[in-house]
């Protein structure tokens, strides 16, 4: 079942934010007013993410159920973290900003799968958006790694922040199902995959802490964690549907 987003106030804010982010990315790429560009990018992504969250709650398209929402959220968070966490170079910031703007704008015209609405409350959305925030941190970490290419990579700040975000996501998911169905853990395939993402990030964090003087281990842990988290976020729902696994979270 699919449906197209109806134009509304929240969608207008998303569109405006996408334009702001795109303008910021363009200024950063141009190089003349890069500082202003970074401000525009940071403010645009924050406003856009807030509007995306409102939109996802109102339209019942939480990031766990909607690929378009998840993708736009991950790239917007990635662009934001690329400015907020550590300077990663103008090219990376501009590229992430442009991608975020495109996916945010694309969300306004993309058909949304109407799944996951059975738990379409704020707590469940907090879970989804925290997961998206964690994936965005990891995207920013990958971008920094790709841009810097140094012999002493930095992964710990990204992995620790991502672990924090994903912990909030799991706790909020447990709270949502507890309030709805009276059980905070059901062994549901979607829950297991979300837990796998959390474990992957925690594992990456411990590896990066244990082997800080082994650049390949550090970078490998970041890529492993990011790969699993993003695969879970974008691929869990299609995988569960394709395999016909019984997931309560995806009953429409």
């Amino acid at each position: 079942m699919t449906r197209v987003i109806v134009w509304g106030g929240d969608a207008a804010v998303v569109g405006l934010a996408a334009l702001t982010v795109f303008a910021g990315a363009a200024l950063i790429a141009w190089g003349r007013a890069a500082s202003l560009g970074r401000w525009l990018l940071a403010v645009g992504t924050m406003v856009g993410l807030f509007a995306l969250a409102v939109l996802s709650v109102r339209r019942g398209a939480d990031p766990y159920g909607s690929l378009a929402t998840a993708l736009a959220g991950v790239l917007a968070f990635g662009a934001f973290w690329s400015v907020a966490l550590e300077p990663v170079g103008a090219r990376v910031q501009a590229a992430l900003g442009a991608l975020a703007a495109l996916t945010m704008a694309g969300l306004l015209v993309a058909p949304l799968p109407a799944v996951g609405a059975i738990l379409g409350d704020m707590t469940y959305n907090l879970s989804g958006w925290s997961y998206v925030a964690g994936a965005g941190v990891l995207v920013a970490g990958l971008a920094r790694d790709a841009a810097a290419g140094d012999s002493a990579p930095t992964a710990t700040p990204y992995l620790s922040l991502a672990t924090l975000c994903l912990t909030v996501a799991l706790a909020a998911q447990g709270a949502a199902t507890q309030w709805a169905w009276g059980t905070y853990w059901m062994g549901d395939p979607l829950e297991c995959l979300h837990l796998a993402g959390w474990i992957a990030v925690a594992l990456g964090w411990v590896i990066a802490e244990e082997f800080p003087r082994h650049p390949r281990a550090v970078v490998g842990s970041l890529w492993m964690a990011a790969g699993i988290v993003i695969a879970v976020l974008l691929g869990a729902t299609p995988l569960i549907q394709a395999l016909g696994l019984p997931s309560l979270h995806l009953v429409s």
Binding site: R58, T163, L164, V168, G182, I199, E209
Partner: protein
């Protein structure tokens, strides 16, 4: 056994326990545990789950799963998961002891990197100098043992920064304990289906009964599904009825129990009138056969067809619910109503209803209204606050780990072992290999070197 042999055996046991304790504190064990847990989580997600064939329908899946349709009982997988969780609990307990209690701290790792300073003075003076130097890096030096003229201790973050790490392990223990508390002291009643005006018992003997008094429907934005507010009158132990409102996705709490709406689905209200508007008696043929003027039927996963009799009019009414009936051009839910003569089953009238309506059968009019049934469950959940506290502590522990990464230094202050250096003592600071060139260690080292110089200058002067 000779004393020497006994000493050797005691020494071997002590060495073994030291190694085990050291292993429990190592990050490599954490890596192994997390790798195993990752494999288990992926296997748990992708392992095929056996559901009864009748539960294949989308809506029935929810009902069946929540009403106990998941495979339960001690399977090989659940035993393995149980053993894994018990091992995780034991590891967390050991880590908690190691983190919060100095005497329980692990020995320095075998590949620890040491820095050695020679410093004149007494053991107390050198120990204080070491502590002062390490405090520059935010570490607090605590004495763990005095043995053979050596004083040994562990320096690590003090205060809140040091305690928060333990909160992670305590939180995991609480989450695991919540499962045990839930099994031992929790209670969960059987899910029951209720239509308006119906009363059901929410569990075995002594469980409260619930009567569904009112249903309010709120369409969600986007029109994906409806949210229901069910007003229940709860009666327990002969006490006066207590009213609770249970909403879709939001439990209600009363009298120490929580009430959940697990699912809702279609139901119909049927009434029959004769030629002068006289209400006719109806009798369900599949549920409670008591005669009534208004009957309500739910269409749940296992029951998509209902039969009722109208004895006064010699009628049998068959109601069949279809989520959709593409063959007849109905994209949404539809109820097929068919009226038959009671004696020979002759079809008298039939209609496909997509909304509330009426069906005329000779002098009799059947009024059919579309309603909902709700599936309710009651539970006593003493474990939920424990699990919530555990989740908060896990979160706090991770915040602590992110803000204040672990720093540990093992300190030993001993005599030189030869008599060539007069009163000089050796202060050895050992750290994990990853910290060998850490800034905090270099800072502490510099401060200690300065103090050594000062002490030597004082002696020289």
């Amino acid at each position: 056994m000779a004393p020497t042999e006994r000493r050797t055996l005691t020494q071997s046991v002590a060495n073994l326990s030291t190694e085990v304790w050291r292993l429990a504190a190592s990050r490599r064990l954490t890596i192994a545990v997390l790798t195993f847990a990752l494999a288990l989580a992926l296997a748990g997600a992708l392992a095929p789950m056996t559901l009864p064939p009748e539960a294949r329908a989308e809506h029935a899946r929810l009902e069946t799963a929540l009403s106990g349709g998941w495979p339960d009982g001690p399977t090989a997988g659940s035993r393995l998961a149980g053993v894994g969780l018990a091992a995780l609990g034991a590891l967390c307990f050991v880590r908690l002891l190691q983190t919060w209690l100095v005497g329980w701290g692990a020995a320095a790792p075998r590949d620890a990197v040491s820095r050695v300073h020679e410093m004149p003075g007494t053991v107390d003076e050198v120990w204080r100098a070491c502590g002062a130097a390490l405090s520059v890096a935010g570490l607090t030096l605590e004495r763990s043992a005095d043995r053979d003229g050596c004083r040994m201790g562990l320096a690590r973050r003090g205060g809140l920064a040091g305690r928060l790490r333990g909160a992670l392990y305590l939180g995991i223990l609480l989450v695991l304990a919540a499962g045990v508390v839930g099994r031992m002291w929790g209670w969960s009643g059987e899910p029951i289906e209720l239509v308006l005006g119906e009363t059901g018992v929410l569990g075995p003997d002594g469980a409260p009964s619930a009567r569904l008094e009112q249903l309010a429907v709120t369409p969600l934005r986007g029109g994906v599904t409806e949210a229901l507010s069910s007003t229940l009158a709860i009666t327990a132990d002969g006490a006066p009825a207590e009213r609770v409102i249970v909403r879709t996705g939001r439990a209600a709490h009363a009298a120490g129990l929580s009430y959940y709406e697990l699912a809702h689905g279609p139901a119909v209200r049927v009434a029959a009138h004769g030629d002068k508007g006289v209400a006719l008696r109806l009798q369900s043929m599949s549920r409670d056969p008591a005669p009534r003027s208004v009957a309500r039927f739910s269409f749940s996963g296992a029951q998509q067809e209902q039969l009722l009799a109208v004895p006064d009019a010699n009628l049998i009414v068959r109601l069949v619910y279809y989520p959709s009936l593409a063959a007849r051009g109905y994209a949404g839910p539809v109820v097929h109503v068919r009226a038959e003569r009671g004696v020979d089953g002759l079809r008298l009238a039939e209609e496909f209803l997509t909304a509330s309506g009426a069906l005329a059968v000779g002098d009799v009019t059947l009024d059919i209204g579309f309603e909902y049934y709700v599936m309710m469950r009651a539970a006593r959940e003493p474990h939920v606050p424990v699990a919530a506290a555990g989740a908060v502590l896990v979160l706090a522990g991770i915040v602590g780990l992110a803000l204040w990464p672990e720093r540990r230094a093992w300190v030993a202050v001993c005599g030189r072992g030869d008599d060539g250096a007069g009163d000089a003592l050796v202060c050895q600071i050992a750290v994990e290999p990853r910290d060998a060139s850490a800034g905090w260690l270099l800072a502490a080292d510099a401060v200690l070197s300065e103090r050594v110089c000062d002490a030597r200058d004082r002696l020289g002067g």
